[in-house]
């Protein structure tokens, strides 16, 4: 058993912003020297505001974007960007918007089965069986397999996305805001499913979200990202009860719990946490 299912060592990604033909390009450090470790079977929650580099980080972990510096290690081995198929068997994504992440012209069965065909796993009969098994696991009724994404509700589509991600039996799932496009009553169904799958299959999650209530519920460790850097990381309870960084404190105090009479939180000026990072 490796020590860490997923390890990031000094991962950075820079973008050159050209202002004009003769002007020197400025460098945007979208992700700046990020180091994270997730032990097998654990969940790391990555939180931060929009534009802080969360999604760039996710793309590098999935091998969709080469890092400028640093390494991504899966099971203690650096990932090989030239062998995308091998990488896809180890790590799979679940995206935010279940309306645009599924091909509208393919049936649900074709969508879930495609990874098996691409990887040449089994024959047609065993592939169909695998699709049926995985659909049972994520709670998709069999009659939906012949339908198209347009006929499904948001929650059902996200179940399809989860089934497609799991069919190659990867060890790690990268969930990029998987419930923020869903209604709250459906969000709870999907969160329960993710918790069940983690237990049954021993999955490791990188869970990216801006909803701290959801993060606290689901994760073992938390990393807070601000302007491309990790400003604070630690165990869930340590972050949620003893946050040190002013940005983490501001994030935590802006969680609005459904308790009337508390009013709205008074936040410090954002320059405070900008300076501290």
């Amino acid at each position: 058993m490796p020590d860490f299912a997923l390890e990031l060592c000094g991962l950075s990604r820079y973008f050159q912003l050209k202002k004009g033909l003769f002007k020197p390009a400025t460098v945007l450090k979208a992700v700046n020297n990020v180091s994270l470790r997730i032990p097998p079977g654990q969940t790391l929650g990555l939180v931060g505001e929009s534009g802080c580099g969360k999604s760039t980080l996710a793309k590098m972990i999935l091998g969709l974007l080469p890092p400028s510096e640093g390494d991504v290690l899966i099971n203690d081995k650096a990932i090989d960007l030239s062998d995308r198929l091998a990488l896809a068997r180890q790590i799979q994504p679940i995206f935010q918007d279940p309306y645009s992440s599924l091909n509208p012209r393919k049936t649900i069965e074709q969508i879930i089965r495609l990874p098996l065909q691409l990887h040449g796993v089994g024959d047609a009969a065993s592939q169909r069986r695998a699709v049926k098994d995985i659909s049972d696991l994520v709670g998709l009724p069999e009659r939906l397999l012949r339908q198209y994404p347009g006929q499904l509700s948001g929650g059902q589509r996200q179940r399809v996305a989860i089934a497609r991600a799991l069919i190659l039996k990867p060890a790690i799932l990268v969930c990029d805001e998987p419930t923020s496009a869903l209604d709250v009553s459906v969000q709870a169904q999907i969160l329960n499913l993710l918790l069940d799958l983690k237990q049954e299959l021993g999955l490791t999650y990188l869970f990216i979200s801006h909803n701290l209530g959801v993060v606290e519920h689901l994760v073992d460790k938390v990393a807070v990202m601000y302007r491309g850097q990790i400003v604070e990381q630690g165990d869930r309870d340590a972050i949620f009860h003893h946050a040190q960084h002013p940005y983490t404190q501001a994030l935590l105090s802006s969680v609005l719990t459904p308790e009337p009479g508390l009013g709205l939180p008074e936040l410090p000026d954002s320059s405070q946490w900008a300076q501290a990072s």
């Binding site: 505001e49 709870a188 519920h217 869930r236 802006s254 459904p258 308790e259 709205l264």
Partner: protein, 330 residues
């Protein structure tokens, strides 16, 4: 407190290829001057259609009927297009969800801020500019005077929403309808914008109809709450009453399925509401929530439940079963 907006039995129907879609199926509510009413519900429950009906911005094919829709004594239903335009923007304005798409990218902010007030009021261009600068500053936009010459793409999402709020306040309206104004924003920005709306509302004495799906937001800002499900109000009460003693199974379900830091045990199963919302195409028989409700009986399939008061006052619930239980318990 005087009633500013009085709506009775509002219905909005949209013809679709599969038949008539009843988006809003008879809702009643009142908004008092200077009060904040939150309409909360999931996507497709008719909350946005309600706000569009109030503003007179429904798509052309939509059919809107109501027994009463009175704004400060004026009947909105019988107004001509011209009379409607005089109220809209002047006495009733709107903040939309997407600050990215609701500002026109090809006009400067100053141009867009002043357009309404120049049309509605006899006011000079420089006076309008002064008011725009004053309101931008009140809305927390730094360098307000210079911003007037800028275009929407030069601003961040949070700043754009502040501009939208300033724009809604330009003509000192009596009523602002805010349709999910903070959904597209980061949580820290959301808290700031909500504070701002609350402060400005109290300062200017504006009534606000705040539409959202987030119960956390509702709890912190609302005076009055209406919970909508499948085109109907299923429970309405003051914010304090609704959160301390929710009666309708849907309201209870919504409150139970959000993980709350410090209250929900991490990693435990959330009490999800099973199933999905019913289709609103065609007629609904009985209670719209019965298929997802664990207390549903045969009675619920037979008759359409009515809004009834649980406490003899203004806490009303559309569920006879739970109302009876609640009254017996008290």
């Amino acid at each position: 407190m005087s009633v500013l907006l009085d709506v009775k039995n509002l219905q909005v129907d949209l013809p679709t290829a599969n038949g008539m879609l009843h988006a809003v199926r008879g809702i009643d509510f009142q908004v008092n001057r200077g009060e904040m009413l939150c309409i909360v519900g999931e996507s497709g429950c008719g909350k946005s259609m309600t706000s569009m009906a109030l503003m007179g911005l429904l798509p052309k094919r939509a059919q809107c009927t109501a027994e009463r829709m009175a704004f400060d004594g004026t009947d909105l239903l019988t107004l001509s297009k011209k009379e409607r335009n005089q109220i809209r923007g002047m006495r009733m304005s709107m903040i939309f969800q997407e600050p990215m798409t609701s500002l026109n990218p090809s006009y400067t902010l100053g141009n867009q801020l002043c357009e309404g007030i120049l049309k509605h009021k006899k006011i000079s261009r420089s006076e309008a500019r002064e008011r725009a600068i004053y309101l931008l500053e009140r809305a927390g936009v730094p360098y307000a005077a210079e911003r007037l010459e800028q275009y929407p793409h030069q601003l961040s999402g949070g700043l754009r929403q502040r501009v939208m709020i300033a724009m809604a306040l330009m003509c000192e309206p009596d009523l602002i309808i805010a349709d999910e104004p903070t959904t597209a924003l980061d949580v820290t920005i959301q808290a700031q914008i909500l504070r701002l709306i609350r402060e400005l509302q109290q300062e200017f004495g504006t009534a606000v109809i705040f539409i959202t799906h987030d119960l956390g937001v509702v709890a912190r800002i609302a005076d009055w709450v209406a919970v909508m499900y499948a085109g109907q109000v299923v429970e309405t009460a003051s914010a304090r009453q609704l959160f301390s003693s929710p009666v309708h199974p849907y309201t209870q379900g919504l409150l139970n399925c959000i993980p709350v830091p410090g209250r929900t045990a991490p990693g435990s199963h959330l009490q999800a509401i099973p199933g999905v919302v019913p289709s609103l195409v065609g007629e609904l028989q009985g209670c719209a929530f019965r298929n997802r409700c664990d207390r549903a009986s045969t009675e619920c399939t037979r008759s359409q439940p009515q809004l009834i008061s649980v406490d003899g006052g203004q806490h009303q619930v559309r569920c006879p079963v739970m109302t009876q239980q609640w009254q017996e318990a008290v």
